[in-house]
Amino acid sequence: MSEPASAPVTGPADLLAQRVAATGPRPTVIVDDLHVNYTVYATGRPAKNESTKLLRRAVNMRRARKIHALKGISFTAHEGEAIGVIGRNGSGKSTLLRAIAGLTPADQGAIYADSDPTLLGVNAALINELSGERNVVLGGLAMGLTPDQVREKYDDIVDFAGIGEFIELPMRTYSAGMGARLRFAIAASATHRILLVDEALAVGDADFQRRSERRISELRDAAGTVFLVSHSLKVIEDTCQRTLWIDGGTLRLDGPSAEVIAAYNASVK
């Protein structure tokens, strides 16, 4: 980090104060012209005739097809913000979150982020053949906690998930809702500076939803930034002040939730 050469001779504290005054809250995530491509291997190309189709099937020639999932997205997220992300199925919402979590690399453009953003989603499986107990421990360790810290948080996590004695059974025996609750409980146990939530709230029952909404606002208050992808516009409106509307891989609208949701509803109708 280099200071501008022409800066007047002031202490670093003064400079910082000037900056805060000028720029408002500190940015935590900056997404700069983000492009993400997927390479999919599929026999999706239409064959000219029956014999080439057979030949291709015989040698299992799979052509790499590029899917342009995100086409140049830019925005800046700040400390203490909860940001909803809405859009149709396949519009690129989950890809955006996975890119911010550092799980899908950018093909073009860049993402700058304060600390390791943590993604928590319904599809994110831990290890299905292991019991919930062991998944709690492993999930904590994977997030970088020490065994002592995991032991400390263990009871809270299990209580929060509220899945009772199922905790001793392998995760493959869980219903989709129970699995999602446990995953959310694990990920939400550590205080993340940046938390990305993908549809996780839609699966729990009303009681669980209330608890997780409370937890999200706690995390937000702890000077974190929360991103929330959901098809439930009500959940977004209740938890997020700001919303991004992603449409066909581009950012259609970025603004206060009520306005963006109104515009989205108008376009869907």
Partner: protein
């Protein structure tokens, strides 16, 4: 402060503005591969995760069957019995090693460790896509955990191996201590192999189809049930003897046999091979794996 973003990126902050803003607030760029030293540091930070994963996998692997953990030992023992039965009858006595039974058990057990590291190592990235897609951690944790899991399985096998050696008349002796450096070197070698296999599988999925054949080939070239032809002879060695001698798995088996079986002393050049392969494969494998760090989890 609603901002309507028109289709062409018009009126949006430019690249330079955003990059400058990031620099001003000291936000690092995401998704770029960490430097080698940083990577090693991150990996060290997840050591508990690595061990925890290996232990959990090891336990769950063996909880399914009624005999549980006993199968870790029973499987290779039965394997050794089958080979012993076939080749003990088939091959002339002169082509067998000293203490055929103990030698065979050492060979089969040590080979099993290598084969498991190769096979499971190749699957360590592709078979854990759930973890990779949901959590951010240095991916080298996965091949490392695979090797640790196999080391956990090796411990009961070593105990059985020593029991077989004692039962077939080998004495308890100080030379058993050579097992420690021999297996340490072999673990380094196997970790390198697991990391190379893990990355290759990302590039070419079909490799997992070829691994059984590769394993078979190495098995037959490791002198597990026959005496290495012309071992230590001066000049005029056959091609097979050369290949055997340079085969890393054969080298490690020889080192373990040298420690356990009287009259099977491993010559110094076998130790040199063991050190060379161990350190060499580990370093090359680690760097090769690290170079593709940002590619894992892409598919």
């Amino acid at each position: 402060m609603s901002v309507v973003v028109p289709a062409p990126s018009h009126g949006q902050p430019s690249h330079d503005d955003l990059a400058a803003l990031a620099a001003e607030h000291g936000l690092p760029k995401l998704g770029s591969r960490p430097g080698l030293a940083d990577y090693v540091r991150q990996l060290w930070g997840r050591r508990f995760f690595c061990f925890g994963l290996a232990r959990a996998r090891f336990r769950s692997q063996n909880e399914q069957d009624r005999l549980g953990i006993a199968w870790i030992v029973l499987r290779p023992l039965i394997n050794a019995a089958v080979y012993g039965f076939i080749f003990g009858l088939l091959l002339p006595k002169s082509s067998r090693q000293e203490n055929f039974v103990a030698s065979l058990v050492v060979g089969v057990f040590i080979f099993q460790f290598f084969a498991a590291c190769l096979t499971d190592g190749a699957k360590s990235i592709t078979g854990n896509s759930g973890l990779i897609k949901s959590l951010h951690f240095p991916r080298a944790v996965l091949p490392f955990a695979t090797v640790i899991e196999q080391l956990l399985a090796l411990v009961p096998m070593l105990v059985v191996m020593l029991v077989v050696a004692l039962a077939t008349g080998e004495p308890v002796r100080l030379k058993w201590l050579e097992l420690v450096p021999a297996l340490l070197l072999m673990t380094l070698f196997c970790t390198g192999i697991a990391m190379i296999a893990a990355r290759l599988t990302i590039h070419i999925r079909d490799i997992t189809q070829l691994i059984p054949f590769l394993t078979r080939l190495v098995f037959y070239l490791s002198g597990i049930f026959y005496k290495s032809p012309g071992g230590g002879a001066t000049g005029g060695q056959s091609v097979l003897a050369k290949v055997l001698e340079l085969n890393p798995v054969h080298a490690y088996i020889s080192l373990v046999r040298g420690a356990v079986i009287v009259g099977e002393g491993a010559p110094p050049h076998t130790w040199r091979l063991g050190v060379g392969y161990g350190v060499g494969f580990f370093v090359v494998g680690f760097i090769y794996f690290w170079l593709a760090e940002e590619r894992y989890g892409r598919e």
